[in-house]
């Protein structure tokens, strides 16, 4: 993985920069010791590591503003960081960049039930928002599986999803407002407790921008009343085709479940061995369908989905009797990653999205790749929205296996794009998929995105080396080629 070359002039001024940062943030908030900085050397994508240049942990928006202003003036790069749970290397440090940690922004600022929203600092965890409103019967809907640890600011940066986003949307659909600091140190507020934006939708643009556009210092999210009840169905199928057909028929019948997850045979076995959730071991594919809402609705829909699953050839079919059983159904799915971790020294988690109807074909071709690379693969799948998480099993201690796993992974993602899908559904591009962007986008597509980056950060100081493969200078990107020789195009109909 090629990262931008460290700027020697910045590296040489380290002591002076540390001194300036200590004028802004109290001494313990500026970390320079190598051992202490070690905790920041990677995020959830542990294959890539780099010691930060300096780590800074500000506590106020004003400090963030002064830090960014300083970095802008001094030409110092900045890598924003929440809890560091990114699976794509979004928070991977750079040798000449300040890692700007937002962990100290950990307060809930306002719980406003009349407007059904919560205002929080970006370092509050995803689950921390739900915890703040649980006793009043509310919750925050997006639920990435790292929700105990991941921060709401990180969720904004990555546009995080989770198993419930089929019905309730991703972060972007549940966000009302932001306070954000630009690289110039300017503080802007976008949105608030009201709906929709007053000009260009910067809220939507910033969500999922992976720390390339600014540093979020406050977040307003909408919260929802907790559904009256939830029940889950567990259904084993003789083939992934049959399970896929069941998913299509549920949606075709006008039902949008709260969650609809699929696992293939290797994933079923790994999960069952680990948590003993009672999964059918003779099934080739397992579906977990959760239905939530008012009691009358859930009872009605459970009947309908049960009928559809039977018709689609489900063998074993169980409906949760109570919340305890429902949680047991989920336990295996939620533990799928660590479960796979038990059967292989290492695994590499992929994250493509495909049109659901191409599932069987994609699984078949993935099995061929698996044979060719000599690496096993287990699949868990957000079936409702086509988001695949193939887990490639490898052993980093065997020479060449990591490289094979990475090649295999890249082939899977290219296949996702080939069948009409995308490189990443919810984990982000980061450094991991950066060099594959050209598979999905043309140069013109990418240039239009990078010019947006230029509008926010003309010197490319914020999280450089992430998301976009080639960093071209903004002046060059902005150059306009007017077809001056041809003023009128005679072919266009006009009247």
């Amino acid at each position: 993985m090629r990262m931008p070359k460290p700027d020697a002039s910045v590296v040489g001024r380290r002591d002076a920069i540390v001194g300036q940062l200590r004028e802004i943030v109290a001494t313990e908030g500026v970390i320079v010791d190598e051992d202490e900085m070690r905790a920041y050397e990677c995020d959830g994508l542990t294959a890539y590591r780099q010691l930060p240049f300096i780590v800074v942990l500000p506590e106020t928006t004003e400090q963030v503003s002064r830090i960014l202003k300083l970095c802008h003036a001094e030409g110092v790069k900045v890598v924003p960081r929440g809890a560091g749970t990114s699976l794509s290397g979004g928070a991977l440090p750079l040798a000449d960049a300040i890692t700007l940690g937002l962990a100290k922004f950990n307060r809930i600022l306002d719980v406003d039930l009349d407007n059904r929203c919560v205002v929080a600092q970006p370092g509050v965890t995803n689950l921390g928002i739900t915890d703040a409103v649980k006793s009043q019967g509310f919750y925050y809907a997006p639920d990435p599986s790292s929700q105990i640890a991941c921060t709401i600011g990180g969720n904004v940066a990555e546009n995080s999803g989770g198993v419930h986003c089929l019905k309730y949307g991703l972060t972007t659909n549940n966000l009302l407002g932001l306070e954000m600091v630009l690289i110039t140190g300017e503080v802007i507020r976008i949105g608030g407790k009201h709906l929709d934006s007053e000009g260009y939708d910067l809220l939507g643009l910033v969500t999922g921008s992976e720390g390339l556009l600014g540093v979020v210092t406050e977040v307003t999210v909408r919260i929802l009343p907790r559904p009256e009840m939830a029940r889950a169905l567990l259904a084993g199928f003789p083939s992934s085709e049959a399970a896929g057909a069941c998913v299509a028929q549920v949606i075709g019948a006008g039902i949008i479940p709260a969650g609809m997850e699929m696992m293939d045979r290797p994933a079923i076995h790994a999960a069952e061995d680990f948590v003993h959730a009672g999964y059918p071991l003779d099934a080739d594919a397992l579906l977990i369908v959760e239905l939530d809402g008012p009691e009358a609705e859930v009872a009605h829909l459970v009947d309908r989905v049960t009928g559809i699953a039977r018709e689609s050839g489900a063998g074993e079919l169980r409906v949760s009797a109570d919340d305890e059983e429902r949680e047991r159904f989920w336990a295996g799915r939620k533990a799928a990653f660590p479960a796979v971790g038990r059967i292989s020294p290492d695994y590499y988690c992929m994250d493509g999205t495909i049109p659901r109807r191409r599932l069987a074909e994609v699984l078949r071709r993935m099995a061929e790749m698996s044979r060719r690379h000599g690496l096993r693969v287990a699949n868990v799948f957000h079936a409702g929205d086509g988001n695949l998480h193939p887990l490639i099993l490898y052993d980093a201690n065997r020479p060449g296996e990591l490289e094979s796993a990475e090649t295999f992974g890249a082939e899977i993602l290219k296949l996702c794009v080939e069948v009409g899908g995308v490189l990443t559904g919810e984990h982000g591009v980061g450094v991991e998929k950066r060099d594959l962007m050209g598979v999905m986008f043309t140069e013109d597509d990418l240039n239009h995105q990078q010019r947006v980056k230029c509008a926010f950060d003309a010197e490319s100081l914020l999280n450089p080396g992430k998301v976009y493969p080639i960093l071209r200078r903004c002046a060059e990107l902005g150059r306009l080629h007017v077809r001056a020789g041809q003023v009128r195009f005679p072919d266009i109909p006009r009247f």
Binding site: D114, R116, G137, N159, G161, C165, G169, N173, I188, G192, H194, L195, D196, E198, G199, Y200, D201, L202, L205, T207, S209, I251, G252, G254, I256, P294, E297, H300, L301, T353, P355, R357, D385, N387, G421, V422, T424, G425, V429, M437, M440, F441, D444, D445, N447, H448, Q449, R451, V452, A455, F456, V482, R483, Q486, V487, F489, I492, P493, R494, F495
Partner: protein, 405 residues
Amino acid sequence: MTDVLAPRDADDVLDAVAESLATGRPVDVVAAGSKRNFGRPCETACELDVSALSGIDLYEPDELVVGMGAATPLVALEAALEAERQMLSFEPPDLGPVLGAPAGQSTVGGVLACNLSGPRRIMAGAARDHFLGFNAVSGRGEAFKSGGRVVKNVTGFDLSKLIAGSFGTLAVLTHVVLRVLPSPEDERTVLIAGLADAQAVSAMSAAMNGPYDVSGAAHLPAPVASASANEAVSGLGASTTAIRIEGPAPSVEARTRAVSALVSEFGPTHVLDRAQSGSLWREVRDVSYFAADGRQVWRISVAPAAGAGVGGQIAAATNGTVFYDWAGGLVWLAIPALDDAGHETIRGAIRDIGGHATLVRADPEVRAAVSVFQPQPAPLAALAARIKDSFDPRHVLNPGRMAQV
């Protein structure tokens, strides 16, 4: 004289923008023109009529996705979806009649360019939340795409969001892909008669804060309710607060009962059947109450709990008429025409609480002299200007349309 360029396909659009760049003549991007009067008047006499970019070319109901030429008529799309018992769940309004155009002319691209959403916005999200991907030609005369045809997608910046609501000032949409959802099997609306605005917002909030999946919450003060074509509403002879419940039939029945019981402490309740409910929400969605008069119309978005206060204050100060959607968060206001459209009074009322006010209907001279869209603080306005320049450096697309004055 107005020049009209009428591209036949996306390649022609590319040539048309290249021509505009080469000649220095900007274009006003239109299709049906039903929202031509929405926004600040464009400062150009040349039109780019993209009407020919029409037709659905991808519809997979069980994948909940539909793709089409950007100028596909909304009625054609809705008919295709209805045949599969699906819908655009953001409930796009038809503002044609409010803007002085015939009903039923909207195109999908126009709806997206204005990010128009109806009453179900509070539950299902806005147009932008269902906009999965697009192909377009930017003001640089370059074709580009963003997004895709799947919902779960975080590959690169989400330009669909940026393009939605940009009023054609960044790029000319040529093809769009939208997420669709199943239509609800049944619907009912619980009415509460005779509430003052503030009480109504409390009643709507109580319903919104319970586990009832409310998909519409509006309040029509008496003068507006009496103008309803729906006799079950106008016949009450009082203000009307409406709470919509949609979903599978047994669920609708149970929730309608629960919501009626919950809000009965506020006033007498009454339930509208499916047909009556449908016609009421179409009126609310399309702002029909203000369609047939010559007054100026504002659309004000605030925190829902602040709606009644803001609406009452502005109505009193402007001698205007208001009604509320989005549980109080969307205030529609009609005022007797003024040269400055009362913008200082209206925007002054929301200055401290946050939100935005858009001048939806006024004569072109007024819309040229008053900021149609909420003015932004300097750093935000400068950022928006840099984004505009990055897509359209010579300002050849819809010049002046979103300009602050």
